[in-house]
Symmetry: C2
Subunit: 317 residues, 2 copies
């Protein structure tokens, strides 16, 4: 049996709607795979989802990704998959992408690594598309490659890996509510005011340049979303107060992670991410009353998906 881990990821990253993402160190999903008699995905077990995810392989993001990989490899070998969900569903941290990525990485390892990272990316995206109706390269790519990733194009994928300044860290507050990506997307409408669009691409250019030059001031000035966040902020109770608390506590920037409800704050190092995260949690608790929330703090995950041994012991927490 072989197991692979793929981390949560923050997509959009304020100014990079649909094209930018970065990996966390943890949490993440683990998928284990064993050979099985007969072709295809012979069985699929999901743990940690309270029975909510489909176990029909064609309708499960991990199963569908592996089906795409088996077809790509033109193999008649079969596999049995077990998905260990470490990530909450519909939380905005790339949960389905992590399962798809971990699954194809595990199966590729089982087969002796016949597929390139590019093929694994395409299969994970195909799996997400088959199971969820849409692929998210801005989650799939960072979950697979690690670090910061620009998904310049989705079909065919044109993935640009960006450097990560030393010590760059992140706090992610995950309110216990769910936002369906499709519903969040419907809020956006079909058009963007020209002035807002110009500010957005100016900021994306600034953020990319800031990552290359490790210019934290430039990164901070660029981490502003003029397009999407104004339309989605109201989805998450207390979002603006949490954002102000994060910036007040020294975050470089703070916005929705993916389509929310998770809120990320990028910070210069882990200690400030922990301080910022506590400020976010405190304010969220005061603003949202009954809603619980998780807080994750870690460095930006440079490594991305990887084979792990000793399953239970090594799943990053």
């Amino acid at each position: 049996m072989i197991a692979a881990y793929a981390p949560a990821s923050v997509s959009n990253v304020a100014c990079g709607f649909d094209v930018l993402g970065f990996a966390l160190e943890a949490p993440g999903d683990v998928v284990s795979v064993a050979p099985a008699d007969g072709p295809g995905v012979r069985s699929l077990i999901v743990r940690g989802d309270d029975g909510r995810l489909p176990t029909d392989p064609a309708r499960n993001t991990a199963g569908a990704a592996v089906i795409a990989l088996l077809e790509r490899l033109e193999t008649t070998r079969g596999v049995a998959l077990t998905v260990h969900k470490g990530l909450p569903l519909a939380s905005g941290v790339g949960s389905s992408a992590a399962s798809a990525v971990a699954a194809v990485v595990a199966v590729n390892e089982l087969f002796g690594r016949p597929a390139s990272l590019e093929v694994l990316l395409e299969c994970a995206m195909a799996g997400e598309r088959a199971a969820c109706g849409a692929a998210h390269p801005d989650n799939v790519a960072p979950a697979l490659y690690g670090g910061f990733v620009l998904a310049r194009a989705a079909a065919p994928p044109d993935i640009v890996r960006l450097p990560v300044p030393a010590h760059l860290a992140c706090a992610v507050l995950h309110p216990h509510m769910e936002i369906e990506t499709g519903a969040a997307r419907a809020l956006l409408g079909d058009a963007v005011p020209l002035g807002a669009a110009i500010k957005q691409w100016a900021n994306l250019g600034g953020l990319v340049a800031g990552l290359f030059t490790a210019d934290l001031g430039l990164i901070a000035r660029s981490l502003v979303d003029h397009v999407v966040e104004p339309r989605r902020a109201a989805l998450v109770p207390g979002f603006r107060a949490v954002q102000q608390a994060a910036l007040g506590a020294g975050a470089l920037g703070c916005s929705l992670s993916g389509s929310g409800p998770s809120i990320f704050a990028l910070c210069d190092a882990l200690p400030s991410a922990q301080r910022v995260g506590e400020a976010m949690r405190t304010v969220f608790a005061a603003e949202s009353r009954a809603l619980a929330a998780d807080l994750w703090t870690c460095e930006v995950g440079r490594e991305g998906a990887r084979i792990i041994t000793g399953l239970a012991a090594s799943v990053p927490r």
Copy 2:
């Protein structure tokens, strides 16, 4: 007497409407300055414009920029300016920006360089705004600094200098017609389709990353304008044919320079820029019939504005 040269610049650069620009080596404008009795801009002579530009200092981009600089320096010294236009008016290559930049660089030199580059940038922008109604940091900044520049914000200016891959070169075809920036801007409307805006910021991110990594393939894939060029292409007769000819001859990308009518093609080195430029000129001649055009080919201008000596001999051609 002191003279400064500032080069033409290509703004927008396909995917970076309003925020990206680069300098050419040549052509450019020269402004010479001499001390004069009394405060302010005591006289302004313009040569090479066929008498079309205003010579009232407050209404001339070079004069207004110097007025802004004198105010900023809180000086009562006066100057006499002579603007030698090497650049055609309303041509899309930053003609007014070059005059403003050359003027403030020359005056600053005359006074012993009291002002920083940042102050010179702000004064050149103020001059363009006073004389033309709008400032163009995506022309002013590359004309001043040289190289590739991201103008992340205009007020206050947040200018990010980007690296230029070795040998990167450019062909610029200048059809003998004029397009007023304001009229070209009115074509854009107030909104951008969301899908086009996403492609645009993906490409801007790709171009910035490509400049940092000298990845010419990524630069080429990113040099596509989904927002502005479709609305403005019809302004220039034969534009699409010229663009196809440039790409067919090996250009990395080709689009309108600024708001046109000039058409730029970015190339991997000077020899290919010359080949590409000839292809553009040939096709333009066939498509536009009566319209004459200039062709300029050079490396991307790394140096930007500078003091020159021996005026007539040293103006780059």
